[in-house]
């Protein structure tokens, strides 16, 4: 029985200790007016309580609170309303932390605004549960903590430590949070949590927040000191090196920490609020929230995709024990499947298992026995017979149609009844591969990204004959191995590979046109691309590029020929085949990049001409966007969401844009079509806008609501 109850909060009094439980309807606490009003109501009630000794703030749900109500933030374009909302939250948290000693009893994950609520506690105690995360991930969505986090955390753990959390958008498990000072103490379970909270309150009846103590001294460097100036300069530089200026959220967060540290706490909240209001209402924040939260969550939940509860797979076989094959075997074993890792060479298998051992070592939470058990789930073999009864085969052999056909023919007979054959090809059309299959309805493309242990995306490709059941079971499999999926239709290069090639080839093309390579690289970063084109071309290897371009010609004989392609062929002929070979666009020393190869200038007729960052960056972006337009015309993309999620998580397309379609929206379709037409005349038909883009521009349409 509660002593007080409203929609979002309740209070139970016991011996002068008030347990204030946040529990909004719907199973989640989200920072929104309902929650803040609920908290305020509870505080109003506590004003009437005599002899209040302390407050335990906790959640009635599984999570403590995992952040702001993003639907609300996403839909709000008026900075005055955002500022008002932060003021309401700040006012409630200030009342809470100044009313009595407060313990935030963190019973489940406390992230973003949820962790900011916990920061209003004088002490944070969290349950030692491996699922429990705390942190401030806001910058990953194009905003920063706007509920006092940029001011409370630096005053709690120091400017430097706080900046690391805020600028990197860190989320950590409870034990690490204790080490970092984000949490003060761990509890074993909920009862222990409440007991420890109560004990602390009784032992610390005079507790107040450090920033409310007149004798407050900053932990770490003191604002305004020479150390603080050096720290902020280095932090600015490190940040800029990472973001190339394309991600204002982190930049603003750094400024707000610094500016707020110079003034009193209450006025610092105002500085935070004004900067947050500007950022949260910006196009970039909206585009990032849409793609990196809404679209990504929908992709993870496979919203709108055919669903079966269970894939029915027990035994999975991976063909080819290269880095991808071995990695895949590991990922499957970790998800609980029995795995056969098949190669034609014992040496390759040994290397593959060594790779798996390396991955096993990284699993620090497993003891030796658990690691051995996991390793035992993987059977390396050269013997086809070991594959008998396999429910899913994934081939990861060399990208050669004839080889793949042969592998399909010799392997399929070992599949279990109703077993599925999947190809991990990154480009070859599934329909063509399936011609070697005895049952193309149970043939599908599962395109993973390297390193597969880390890359979250899985691009699923349906060939002409791929059955709905095959897709649904593949989707269930994807859920089990925890991959975020996009589902696309068939065509050479599918979606991600063709957009990726348009990017790196345009990089090579700009070099061939005589632009300074370092400027090209920085222009890409300044546009927001995660990796610059020449660097990543070297990493995937120019040799593979040449192979892929040769293959591509068979499928797209009418594709435009550009000098950039000749340049890449020339580099390979000159023995500069990419990073793994120690030479590409860049020079390498012991595997480390050492700067652009000085001989490159001579290959393109002289020292590089300077182009503006904007001009070069835009060409790199628009070359990709034009390719995305063609993929839309050709029906490769089934759901616009997949273009965004696939581009960002598959190939590192500029996350600050929200994805290629959001980029188009922000550019403005009519302006974009005009610009693409101009570039097509000036630089070639690869820039030409697709029909769909033209039609949408003519009709005044957009991909996503503004």
């Amino acid at each position: 029985m509660s002593d007080y109850q409203n929609t979002a909060a309740s209070v139970v009094l016991d011996d002068g200790i008030a347990t204030l439980t946040l529990a909004q309807p719907g199973g989640f606490n989200k920072i929104n007016p309902e929650l803040i009003e609920g908290l305020t109501g509870a505080l109003d009630y506590l004003d009437t309580v005599q002899g209040l000794k302390g407050i335990i703030l906790t959640s009635g749900h599984r999570d403590f609170c995992v952040g702001a109500d993003l639907d609300m933030v996403y839909g709000e374009r008026d900075p005055a309303n955002i500022l008002g909302a932060t003021q309401a939250m700040n006012a409630a948290l200030r009342r809470l932390e100044q009313k009595a000693p407060v313990v935030a009893a963190i019973n489940g994950s406390a992230l973003g605004g949820g962790y900011e609520v916990a920061l209003a506690g004088h002490r944070r105690i969290a349950i030692d549960d491996p699922r429990l995360m705390v942190g401030l991930p806001e910058v990953n969505l194009g905003v920063f903590p706007g509920g006092g986090g940029t001011q409370r955390l630096p005053r709690l753990i120091g400017i430097q430590a706080a900046l690391e959390v805020i600028l990197q958008g860190q989320m950590v498990r409870a034990p690490k949070a204790v080490k970092m000072g984000l949490v003060d103490e761990l509890a074993s379970d909920r009862d222990d949590l409440m007991a420890k909270a109560k004990a602390w309150l009784l032992a610390n009846p005079k507790s107040k927040q450090p920033w409310d103590d007149p004798k407050f001294r900053w932990p770490g460097v003191r604002p305004g000191s020479a150390d603080a100036r050096n720290l902020l300069l280095a932090a600015s530089a490190m940040l800029y090196k990472k973001t190339a200026g394309a991600f204002p959220a982190a930049e603003d967060a750094l400024s707000v920490v610094q500016e707020g540290a110079a003034v009193t706490f209450d006025r610092a909240l105002e500085i935070e609020g004004r900067a947050f209001a500007k950022l949260a209402t910006s196009d970039q924040a909206k585009d990032m929230i849409r793609t990196l939260f809404f679209h990504k969550t929908a992709a993870e939940k496979q919203k709108g995709l055919p669903r079966v509860e269970d894939d029915g797979f027990r035994k999975v076989a991976v063909l080819g024990a290269g880095m991808m094959g071995a990695g895949l075997a590991f990922v499957c074993a970790k998800a609980g499947y029995d795995v056969v890792l098949k190669d034609i060479s014992e040496g390759a298998l040994e290397k593959g298992m060594a790779h798996i051992d390396g991955e096993l070592k990284k699993l620090r939470h497993l003891d030796d026995a658990a690691k051995a058990a996991l390793r035992a789930k993987i059977t390396p073999t050269v013997d086809l017979e070991t594959l008998r009864g396999t429910d899913l085969v994934i081939e990861a052999v060399f990208e050669d149609l004839d080889l793949k056909h042969r592998v399909i023919r010799e392997t399929e007979p070992y599949l279990s009844a109703n077993g599925i054959f999947a190809s991990n090809t990154s480009a070859l059309p599934i329909t063509d591969l399936a011609k070697a299959s005895a049952h193309p309805d149970r043939f599908i493309g599962l395109h993973y990204f390297s390193p597969v242990e880390k890359m979250p995306l899985l691009e699923i490709i349906c060939g002409e004959a791929t059955g709905d059941d095959t897709l649904a079971r593949s989707l269930a499999f994807a859920r089990k191995i925890k991959k975020t999926v996009i589902v696309v239709n068939d065509g050479y290069g599918f979606f991600t590979s063709r957009v990726f090639s348009s990017y790196i080839l345009e990089g090579a093309q700009l070099v061939a046109e005589g632009y300074d390579p370092n400027t090209i690289e920085w222009a890409a970063r300044a546009a927001g691309m995660v990796v610059s084109p020449l660097q990543v071309f070297d990493e995937v290897s120019l040799a593979l590029g040449v192979h892929a371009m040769t293959e591509a010609k068979k499928y797209r004989p009418d594709a435009e020929h550009i000098e950039g392609v000749d340049l890449v062929f020339g580099l390979v002929e000159a023995g500069r085949k990419g990073k793994a070979y120690g030479a590409g666009f860049y020079d390498y020393e012991g595997g480390k990049r050492r700067g652009i190869w000085p001989g490159l200038a001579a290959m393109v007729g002289g020292p590089g001409k300077q182009g503006s960052l904007k001009e070069l960056g835009q060409r790199l972006m628009l070359a990709q966007v034009a390719e995305v337009g063609r993929a839309l015309d050709e029906g490769i993309i089934r759901n616009w969401r997949d273009a965004e999620v696939g581009a960002i998580f598959g190939i590192g397309f500029a996350p600050n844009t929200g994805g290629p379609l959001a980029y188009i929206d922000r550019f403005g379709l009519p302006a974009l079509v005009a610009e693409l037409d101009r570039l097509a005349v000036e630089h070639g038909k690869r820039y030409a806008p697709s029909q769909l883009l033209r039609d949408m521009a003519a009709k005044g349409e957009r991909f996503f609501d503004a």
């Binding site: 305004g224 902020l232 300069l233 600015s236 530089a237 300074d516």
Partner: protein, 401 residues
């Protein structure tokens, strides 16, 4: 109206650290010392001085709160009638003070102004006044890097090697040593004395006449760690994206020294000079300010020199001697190469690499250095220029009369 220079003096420069001779002398005493000497050697009736304009960069602590006014009061005790103003245009402050004074005289608003500068870098460290340049928000909107990285950036873009900047530094030391040997600063240097009249320092104590190319080659570049490990080099790429790697060539031996010192210059119009019974030494031909891109920061002397020459209706060849402040070796090197100026006419008695650069005072000191040398060689025209924080440049042309 023409602004004439009647006299120009300076303290010697003391090493700007706790072991330096001038560390125990407060900046107000450095400054009031030169004001006393300027008065005494010119028999100046200080009641006739309309203003004291003093350059000082780090206006905090001992150097805060308008040190010019309080130094004038302490030095002259003249019925409290002389105002004072302290100006900050970073490293140009001392020359800014001279130009400002010259402008007031030339305009007729003032008749007689004392200009000068002071900086005790041992007592008031650079940067201890804080400022917007340290504000990350300004970094995002404007962009700036520490000067050493700017200097290394110029060397990178110009393709100037470590050996070349080191050789320039050795030459600065060689010229300085020769100048000291021949007592060429005799006319300008006034010793710093204590309250007993005892000499605290009577000579420049920063030069290293024994410096060698080999010894210099062993010095670690000063900004390599900041630039590479702390990532500061990346900050240049917003404007210089082709610079994938800044080559760090500057170090303590080929950059200006950190020192303490003060200087004073007496300016007046012709009539006031006559009525005070003074003989002019030179006149101001032109003054110039310029501003360029703030990340490369230190190329301002090129544009400032061009403007000053144009205003004076002169060419480079019309100037007999130049002083271009050796904030870093690359600064005069870049400036000479851009303007086609012969090193034989530049910093002929060494520069800040040897003598040090007392920020707020340097501009006024360079003015008296070039004036002394014009007189010694019986030449006519001198140009002084300095690079300035924030991408600015300053220049002044004087002509002997």
């Amino acid at each position: 109206m023409t602004a004439y220079i009647y006299d120009a003096i300076r303290t010697p420069r003391g090493r700007g650290k706790q072991s330096g001779s001038l560390y125990t002398t407060k900046p107000i005493d450095l400054l009031s010392g030169v004001l006393v000497d300027l008065r005494d050697r010119n028999g100046l009736d200080t009641n006739e001085v309309d203003d004291v304009v003093v350059g000082c960069v780090t206006q905090a602590g001992d150097q805060g709160a308008c040190i010019a006014r309080f130094a004038a009061l302490q030095a002259w005790q003249t019925g409290h009638s002389v105002p004072g103003v302290t100006v900050n245009r970073f490293c140009a402050s001392g020359l800014e003070a001279v130009n400002h004074a010259a402008a007031m005289v030339a305009s007729g608003f003032h008749d007689c102004v004392v200009a000068g500068g002071v900086e005790s870098m041992s007592r008031v460290p650079m940067g201890s006044d804080g400022g917007a340049i340290f504000d990350p928000a300004v970094q995002w909107k404007v962009g700036s890097v520490p000067q050493g990285i700017s200097a290394d950036l110029i060397a990178t873009i110009d393709g100037v090697s470590r050996e070349e900047v080191d050789a320039f530094a050795i030459e600065s030391q060689r010229r300085a040593a020769a100048a000291v040997e021949q007592n060429r600063f005799e006319r300008s240097i006034v010793p710093v004395r204590d309250q007993n009249g005892l000499v605290v320092l009577d000579h420049d104590e920063h030069p290293r006449p024994d410096a060698t190319l080999e010894g210099m080659g062993a010095l670690q570049p000063a900004f390599q760690m900041f630039g590479e490990q702390f990532g500061l080099d990346a900050l240049v790429r917003r404007r210089y994206p082709s610079v994938d790697r800044v080559r760090h060539v500057h170090h303590a031996g080929n950059s200006s020294g950190i020192v303490d010192g003060a200087a004073a210059v007496l300016l007046a119009n012709e009539a006031k000079g006559k009525s005070l019974g003074l003989k002019p030494r030179a006149k101001i031909r032109s003054v110039a300010l310029s501003a360029e891109e703030p990340i490369i920061m230190l190329t301002g002397p090129v544009s400032a020199t061009r403007i000053a020459l144009k205003k004076a209706g002169m060419n480079v060849s019309d100037v007999d001697l130049f002083e271009c402040n050796e904030a870093f070796a690359i600064v005069p090197m870049h400036w000479m190469s851009e303007l086609g100026i012969d090193h034989a006419k530049v910093n002929v008695n060494g520069g800040a690499i040897a003598f040090g650069h007392p920020l707020g005072a340097t501009g006024a000191m360079l003015l008296n250095t070039v004036l002394d040398e014009l007189e010694r060689r019986d030449l006519s025209t001198g140009l002084v220029t300095l690079c300035v924080g924030g991408g600015m440049g300053i220049a002044t042309i004087i002509e002997r009369v």
